[in-house]
């Protein structure tokens, strides 16, 4: 078994004061991530402050100094932003803990509590497991039986934080098996 904590590549400015964009739904946060990433912003996907959470929430942190430009960018792209928080306090980031189990012919990759298992010879995804949000059984149906290099990314199919964690496992499986992520 391999334990590894990935180094976060998207850090919203080390030492910079950050603020948060809030969203009503996780897919909107993931959409904002794509827009900000393509525009070259430094950002991080985080949990919103406790008093602003409704359940399965995800927010996007960026340096406060870039708030205005980033908000305009998101508005122009049509991303529905619920609001902006200047002082998020101790916003938590989704865990980056990644572990693997080698079953011989199959490799299982865990990201948080989500797991993806791939046949090492054929690159076919033979299982997904873990998680508890309603998109996880849906992703199980959509991904299992298909090749790792041919399926859409889990985060483009899913809607929740569980889906995002499965995407992290998928990303790591791609890296370990020499596959370019979709």
């Amino acid at each position: 078994m391999l334990f590894r904590s990935k180094k976060r590549t998207e850090d919203p400015g080390a030492g910079e004061a950050s603020g948060l964009f809030l969203f009503d739904q996780v897919p909107d946060a993931l959409w904002a991530e794509r827009v900000l990433k393509s525009a070259g912003y430094e950002y991080a996907l985080v949990a919103p402050p406790h008093h602003l959470r409704a359940g399965c929430d995800l927010a996007v942190a960026i340096p406060r100094v870039e708030h205005v430009g980033a908000e305009r960018l998101l508005r122009d792209a049509g991303v529905p932003v619920r609001g902006w928080v200047d002082d998020p306090g101790s916003a938590a980031q989704p865990t980056e803990l990644v572990t693997t189990v080698d079953f011989g012919g199959h490799l299982m990759v865990r990201a948080g509590n989500m797991k993806i298992t791939v046949d090492k010879d054929t690159l076919v995804i033979v299982n997904t497991s873990g998680g508890g949000c309603p998109d996880i059984p849906y992703l199980n149906i959509e991904l299992v039986g298909k090749r790792l290099d041919e399926v859409p990314r889990p985060k483009t199919l899913g809607y929740t934080l569980c889906g995002l964690m499965l995407d992290r496992a998928y990303e790591e499986a791609c890296a370990l098996l020499g596959v370019q992520p979709a």
Partner: protein, 295 residues
């Protein structure tokens, strides 16, 4: 003594369904007019609960389900229909399973249950467990079935989803389920009984380890989507059959592992393979494990 499972199934726009869960000879699952596709999640949970109830000669589980692929529409539909379901089913056990973890919906549901079914034992796994813990309602539950990552989430009072579990909880030497379960209990993040799934299953009653189940060890079960769900389904069905909660959890852990051994589990198998092995496993073992002997 009826189990009611409140959950969703992975069909976009799938209709609301309330009825007894029926496991077909080919492993298909139907609830009311809805066909629940084979997958990890509620299909696996209900399949195992059906197998356990049938073996014990008890009424099978009822389910309140709606289609939801993660947008929360089906989740809102089932919570809206919960009053009608409670009135029709009069459940002794209510299990919340794959639902969107929305705290407000869970708060409303628990308030309803306290008024309309105050004696029902509450079980939570998956999104139902996430919502209950995040809303501060975990101690109202009799049983939760977290895996080792999820018990870290229950132990961390600051987080509302397992994706945010703090690294410090896990240290560098892997997980300590017993320590995390005790922390979860002390911090109000746990049900009265936790069945912590892992290489060794820990059954923790009010923060103290009451039993462990480590054999047979079938590592491939972790890779198979839905084998945690079958464990929850077995435990919930045993509870509804009148087993004390500790016995229900221990028998569920044993049966799930033994089914993994009997099916010759590999990482490429499915939860339905485990459900198919349960009749043989229960027939050969449950009487000796529990004293609950089918006539």
């Amino acid at each position: 003594m009826t189990l009611l499972v409140v959950a969703t199934y992975p069909v976009q726009g799938g209709p609301l369904a309330l009825g007894p869960a029926e496991l077909g000879p080919d492993g298909s699952l139907r609830v009311g007019g809805a066909t629940v596709p084979h997958a990890q999640g509620t299909a696996a949970m209900l399949g195992a609960a059906c197998a356990a109830s049938k073996h014990l000669g008890c009424p099978g589980p009822w389910a309140l389900l709606a289609g939801d692929v993660g947008r929360g529409d089906g989740t809102r539909a089932v919570f809206k229909a919960l009053p009608e379901a409670l009135a029709r089913v009069r459940p002794s056990v209510v299990a919340f399973h794959y639902v969107q973890p929305v705290m407000a919906l869970m708060r409303e549901a628990i308030g309803l249950l306290e008024r309309e079914a105050p004696d029902a034992l509450l079980v939570a796994d998956a999104g139902g467990m996430y919502a209950a813990k995040a809303a501060g309602l975990a101690p109202r539950f009799e049983l939760m079935t977290p895996d080792v990552g999820e018990v870290g989430f229950l132990a961390d009072p600051e987080v509302t989803h397992p994706a945010y579990v703090s690294h410090y909880l896990f240290g560098t030497d892997g997980f300590d389920p017993a320590k995390l379960a005790r922390l979860a209990h002390e911090r109000g993040g746990a049900a009265r009984v936790l069945l912590v799934k892992g290489e060794t299953d820990h059954v923790v009653v009010e923060g103290e380890v009451a039993a462990t189940v480590a054999e047979p060890l079938v590592p491939a079960l972790e890779a198979i989507g839905g084998t945690g769900d079958t464990l929850t389904g077995l435990a919930a069905a045993f509870l509804a059959a009148g087993f004390p909660t500790l016995d229900a959890a221990v028998c569920a852990a044993r049966a799930n592992r033994e089914a993994g051994r009997v099916m010759g589990a590999t990482p490429a198998m499915r939860a339905r393979d485990l459900v198919a092995a349960l009749p043989e496993v229960l027939r050969d073992n449950l009487c000796a494990w529990s004293g609950a002997c089918a006539i």
